[in-house]
Symmetry: C2
Subunit: 364 residues, 2 copies
């Protein structure tokens, strides 16, 4: 699952290793976590979407306290008059995909097989619940120091602004519940099956003879380049990691250069001024040998990597989805073109490893 969450993290979402340690520890202490499907929950069951918020470079150093989920669940029970019935990952990509296992174990609650992104995104309002038009009624945050903050924002953008400010004041890392919702309202407003998908990715690649090929097939991904990391620029500012990475092709890709633009996640892949893939489609850097995802904060000069790109959940391709998490939401002027169309247009240039369009569309 951790391998899958890292791949779905598109470079961000926090360090999965931290999440794995926390999950293993919590399962040992509190017992295993059942995975439940949305359609098995009663309509009025309260789902608690949880995620870490902050700069992954800080998350590295500062792990969540065991008390944070408990404080949030207590505040939620106070606010809603009943306890939550299940934990949901707000973001399946990266640490936020794995850590909910720990939080669910700590609270003795099942984990919902769903999340709010189907990937990782850097901002609070970039969740399927927002795109589906659910109100951002209330956000509950807790930090390592033990502070609990409840935000009733007027909209999703204020939610992001205030939550980010609280997060930075708390040391750029906090645990957050937002879009707390009933099972009834969750239908069509969450991305289902993503925990299962993360598990499948892990199972498909772990121990495979050719992990990169296995991963590419499992994802239905296009291979944008295989090469060497030659330049990485990264800075932590305002609770985000921003920067860029350059990959120079090797082997069959010699002579080609791919540039990634980052804001916690990989947002745009450019080749010679041409967009190869752009957010909200998924772009992930993996180790060419092991097919393990290389997160933004682990990018290092000289690494041998392959960049994969594949289609996001259809929800992100709606007008509201693109407005929320498309190129313009990150300040880019590029028009959004689905990765499978970009690949078709430039297919002849990219050789035999490109994934057939039909297969990509089949997953769309």
């Amino acid at each position: 699952m951790a391998r899958g969450c890292a791949v779905l993290g598109t470079g961000g979402g926090g360090d999965v290793r931290t999440g794995v340690l926390a999950a293993k520890g919590a399962i040992r202490a509190y017992g295993p976590v059942p995975l439940v499907r949305l359609d098995t929950l009663p309509g009025d069951a309260l789902i608690l979407p949880l995620s870490g918020i902050g700069a992954p470079t800080v998350g590295h150093e500062m792990i969540h306290s065991e008390e944070e989920p408990k404080r949030i669940a207590e505040e939620v029970e106070r606010l809603f008059g009943r306890p939550p019935s299940a934990i949901m990952s707000a973001e399946i990509g990266g640490e936020n995909g794995v850590s909910p296992v720990a939080w669910a174990a700590r609270l003795g609650l099942p984990l919902l097989d769903a999340d709010g992104m189907g990937r990782a995104f850097p901002e609070v309002q970039m969740v399927s619940m927002y795109v589906a038009g659910l109100p951002a009624d209330v956000v509950v945050m807790s930090d390592v120091a033990g502070n609990v903050v409840t935000i009733r924002p007027v909209d999703g953008l204020w939610s992001e602004r205030l939550a980010r400010a609280v997060c930075v004041a708390s040391g750029s890392h906090a645990l957050m519940a937002d879009y707390i919702l009933t099972a009834e309202r969750a239908h069509g407003a969450v991305i289902e099956g993503t925990v299962t998908r993360a598990l499948s990715i892990g199972r498909a690649t772990e121990g495979a003879a050719d992990p990169l090929r296995a991963l590419t097939a499992e994802l239905g991904a296009a291979r944008l380049i295989t090469g060497k990391l030659t330049d990485v620029e990264r800075r932590t500012t305002g609770g985000f990691v921003r920067g860029s990475a350059t990959i120079e092709g090797t082997g069959a890709d010699r002579g080609r250069t791919l540039r990634l633009e980052l804001q916690n996640e990989n947002l745009v892949a450019l080749e010679g001024g041409r967009v190869r893939a752009v957010v909200p489609d998924l772009i992930t850097v993996v180790d060419t040998e092991t097919a393990g995802a290389v997160q933004t904060e682990a990018l290092r000069y000289g690494q041998r990597v392959t960049v994969l790109a594949w289609a996001c959940d259809p929800l992100w391709r709606t007008a509201k989805g693109l407005e929320t998490a498309g190129p313009s939401a990150f300040g880019y002027t590029h028009e959004y073109v689905p990765v499978e169309e970009l690949e078709t247009a430039g297919a002849s240039a990219f050789g035999h490893d490109s994934v057939p369009v039909e297969e990509l569309e089949g997953r769309g």
Copy 2:
């Protein structure tokens, strides 16, 4: 009352004129506000201390929405299971001393004749309730946009840190309730009679033949210097106004120079390297002609001003009081010496206008 609040504002606390406009408007719309003494409230009556938080230079431009106190009162009723019985000014100095009249009118509640400072202070934890050891259980904030944020901080310093972050994110101005308390717990934990004191200051000076002499007598203040503002340095940073002001003596004070250090309020008065008065004692710059207080953000080159200093409430002179709001709390290394002792030590140098020590001590 507004004149009194401005004087007690020690240079900060926001623009009283904004508060006066709001108070007049609210009284017209919702009726007059009764002033109540703490000992007339039942023990379980909920007191709602309210204050604006933010940089006064921004408060100038951005006035509180009429809905802010209502949103806070609703959230408090949700959290405490009953509505508040009275409004209290968290800070009698400046706009925060006057505006509660508007907030009380808007909510149809009486105003308590007390506050949490007996003056103005720039930071959230610098209140008598904190010094008295009451827990900073919960802080409720509301901003002009309509957001409501509830903070359950682990201590007063976290309360300040998180509230300040939310305030800055909200545009450096928000309305805040903290140390919400019952009348029973308020005894000894609030500074009583301060609304009445602000009213007395206004009555003593308004229309007086010699307003400066009337004010000095009413306050029991020492006159530090009378002169001309020759240098003002001010910047708004991190939600605060910081800087300094220099006053060169005129008339009997010719040849002397007083320097004020500011952080929203006047914190230290220095003359030739010697401390003349230091926080938590009150230091206020007034117009020499009218005795009207000149707030930090209104200090201008060439103004003819007099600087007054007088004793703070005894609560601020306790060990916990000085730790909370003494010189070291603002990063100064000066040891705290009560203003009346400083005046005695240097009395011969400051001539006939110095107030006799006995009178100062009588007010201490």
